[in-house]
């Protein structure tokens, strides 16, 4: 190859590279445009609104933020949101894994149960909420009727209207709704674990618990990490289930941040303040995601 040839060759390579870059840009443009229009623009708009009094159209600076920081309710509701989210994730994880382990054993009717199990997940949230409200109702709900009938309770109690039980009850209903998804995912992963890995552990002296800890858990870790991430983000943002069950009550004990935002923005008609809470909620989740990605699983770790 002469020098001239080499240069020509390099030019051609660069040409190909330039062309490749152009194609690349062309391919991501629609996605980027979509994100800009549907996420970035509304978000920036929201940030702008959070600095504005929408009634007068005046720029009010940090006024809305000052309000929320000094508002006791905001910190309480943030705490409720955390309790709600952690409770959901922990319980869904525990029940989901438990159910998946049971389903992994072969027994009569297993396939039927696996199908029926998905019902809570398939039923629309509104139907779920109404059904549970009816079940818990103190005057005509069957749960109270049975509880009183069989002497478990002395009088009818609707846990959705009791300040000490409401948040736990709402959490449990949501757990009931989402656990099937966790169970299904875990069940699918369980089926990919080679039987011989369990047998090797058994031959080397492991008991059932040790098999679970040394073989099952490491195989589940990857999926559980992703489920945990999605679960936290989805659960923290859930509005419909809580609103339909309790509307945030009684006396605000089930008011999570999304419910709070709805209340301020649409009931109290203060869009500016509502938007400020939204922006804070968004930042909290971003902070969570950033922290979450510091885990080993996301660092292309050596084992896995």
């Amino acid at each position: 190859m002469s020098f001239a040839d080499q240069f020509a060759f390099r030019d051609r390579l660069e040409g190909i590279e330039r062309k490749g870059t152009l194609i690349g840009i062309a391919l991501v443009t629609p996605a980027v445009a979509l994100v800009l229009v549907t996420i970035v623009y509304p978000f920036l708009n929201a940030v702008q609104i959070s600095f504005t009094d929408l009634g007068t159209g005046q720029f009010v600076g940090l006024e809305h933020y000052q309000w929320l920081v000094s508002h006791d309710g905001f910190w309480t509701f943030t705490w409720y949101s955390i309790v709600w989210t952690v409770g959901n994730i922990v319980l869904q994880g525990a029940f989901g894994i438990g159910i998946a382990l049971l389903l992994h054993e072969k027994f009569f009717g297993r396939d039927a149960i696996r199908t029926v199990m998905l019902v809570p997940f398939v039923v629309p949230t509104a139907v779920t909420a109404i059904t549970w409200r009816w079940l818990f109702n103190s005057s005509y709900g069957p749960l109270n009727y049975w509880a009183v009938e069989f002497g478990v309770l002395s009088g009818a109690v609707n846990p959705l209207t009791e300040t000490s039980y409401a948040l736990a009850t709402v959490t449990l209903v949501n757990v009931w709704r989402w656990t099937p998804l966790v169970a299904l995912v875990v069940f699918a992963v369980l089926q990919t674990i080679p039987q011989e890995e369990y047998e090797a552990a058994r031959v080397e002296g492991a008991g059932l618990l040790q098999e679970f800890y040394h073989v099952t858990v490491p195989h589940l870790q990857g999926s559980l990490t992703i489920l945990g991430l999605l679960g936290v983000l989805l659960t923290f943002n859930i509005f419909d289930m809580v609103w339909l069950l309790t509307e945030g009550g009684p006396v605000g004990v089930t008011t999570t941040l999304p419910v709070f935002i709805y209340d301020i923005a649409f009931n109290l008609q203060n869009i500016g303040r509502g938007t400020a809470v939204s922006v804070v909620l968004f930042l909290m989740l971003v902070a969570f995601v950033v922290a979450y990605f510091q885990q080993e699983e996301f660092k292309g770790g050596t084992f896995g």
Binding site: P194, E196, E197, E199, A200, A201, R202, V203, E204, G205, A206, G207, Q210, H214, V215, P218, H219, Q221, T302, F303, G304
Partner: protein, 367 residues
């Protein structure tokens, strides 16, 4: 040293009999191969010894003690799995130390034992990597190492060589034999490969359709097969088998496909005990001599060379004759190897000492 015994063990899966009434005593400290074609029940047999399957009937005994219902961890044995079953979320060191960890051995001693075995297996520098980063042969060593570290009395191996390429398989095969001899541990190794079994086993248990075909020192199976299945399964290329009639009891002459094979007087009494006139005759390729080879008094017939396979120090000859089946002959005779090629007529002599006769119905060897 530990003795494993199978006391009339049967394993049924529904109506399928996977293992049918096996009664065997494995020799202590020996390298035993359980051999047989796919689906013969060899893996099931191994898994019953391991305690991963429970026999439908019969008992597994280790050192005279019935362990049929004991879990694997009470049997002081270890197992190398076909898929190796290494845990990729653990390092090689953690994989190998797992058994000791389960026994509650402290970390320091664990590491000492792991490093000792890793040195034997030449994987000392791989200990802190996950198994998935190792080559196939190294992973094989890790799996073996995991079994060896605990120093169990018995090591069970389920087709451990089948996932390796040919060269590595031969290497690991030799190494398994070496390690077994060094440690004196009882090895029970399942394989479908008769060559692996013949080359390194002290004794072979040959199974077919869940039944014991023959159990004994490997050369016994080669030279004194109990039945036609054993004769056919052991040896590669397979033994030559053909239908024959005993036409003349007094002189014992086999009339096979128009070819007469006079068999020697020495075995006459035995032949005379053969109750039927039709028999199956088996002759190993190396007992079929070509051209001037063999002794002139041996029964001879002529054949045509069909295919020659060259191996350097010996050749295989596939021959056409008046017999129904084509025959294989092995020759290491330089004169024969240089002179014979496809289409040549050649005289075939059979060493009568190494002729096997089988009952055509049951396949049982007559002697």
């Amino acid at each position: 040293m530990t003795k494993i015994e199978l006391d009339h063990v049967t394993k049924e899966y529904g109506s399928l009999v996977a293992v049918d009434d096996i009664a065997i005593e494995f020799t202590e400290g020996a390298y035993t191969m359980i051999l047989g074609p796919s689906g013969c029940g060899k893996s099931t047999t191994l898994r019953m010894i391991a305690g991963l399957e429970t026999p439908t009937r019969g008992d597994v005994l280790i050192d005279g003690e019935v362990v049929t219902d004991q879990p694997p961890r009470h049997r002081n044995l270890s197992m190398v799995f076909q898929s190796l079953a290494l845990w990729n979320h653990k390092s090689v060191r953690e994989n190998m130390g797992f058994g000791l960890q389960m026994e509650g051995v402290d970390k320091e001693e664990r590491n000492a034992r792991i490093e000792e075995i890793a040195a034997v297996l030449q994987i000392e520098d791989k200990l802190d990597q996950p198994p998935s980063e190792l080559s196939g042969g190294q992973q094989q060593r890790v799996a073996l190492g995991r079994s060896l570290v605990r120093k169990p009395e018995v090591i069970l191996l389920d087709e451990p060589l089948s996932s390796l390429d040919e060269k590595l398989r031969l290497e690991m095969r030799t190494e398994l034999a070496r390690i077994q001899q060094e440690l004196g541990t009882t090895f029970v190794h399942v394989t479908h490969n008769q060559e692996d079994a013949m080359t390194i086993a002290d004794e072979i248990l040959l199974l077919n359709e869940g039944e014991v075909q023959q159990f004994g020192p490997s050369l016994d199976l080669y030279h004194e097969p109990d039945n036609e299945f054993v004769a056919d399964f052991i040896g590669s290329p397979s033994i030559n088998l053909f239908d024959a009639n005993i036409v003349e009891n007094g002189a014992v002459r086999l009339d096979a496909g128009g070819i007469s094979l006079d068999l020697p007087e020495r075995h006459r009494d035995q032949y005379l005990s053969v109750p039927r006139s039709d028999v199956r005759v088996g002759v190993r390729p190396e007992s079929m001599y070509l051209g001037d080879d063999g002794e002139s008094g041996w029964p001879a017939f002529s054949a045509t060379v069909d295919v020659v396979e060259t191996f350097g120090d010996y050749n295989w000859y596939y021959l056409q004759s008046d017999l129904e089946e084509s025959l294989v002959s092995q020759s290491a005779n330089v004169n024969v190897m240089n002179s014979l090629s496809r289409g040549d007529e050649v005289t075939v002599r059979v060493n009568p000492e190494s002729v096997h006769l089988f009952d055509p119905k049951s396949g049982e060897a007559y002697f």
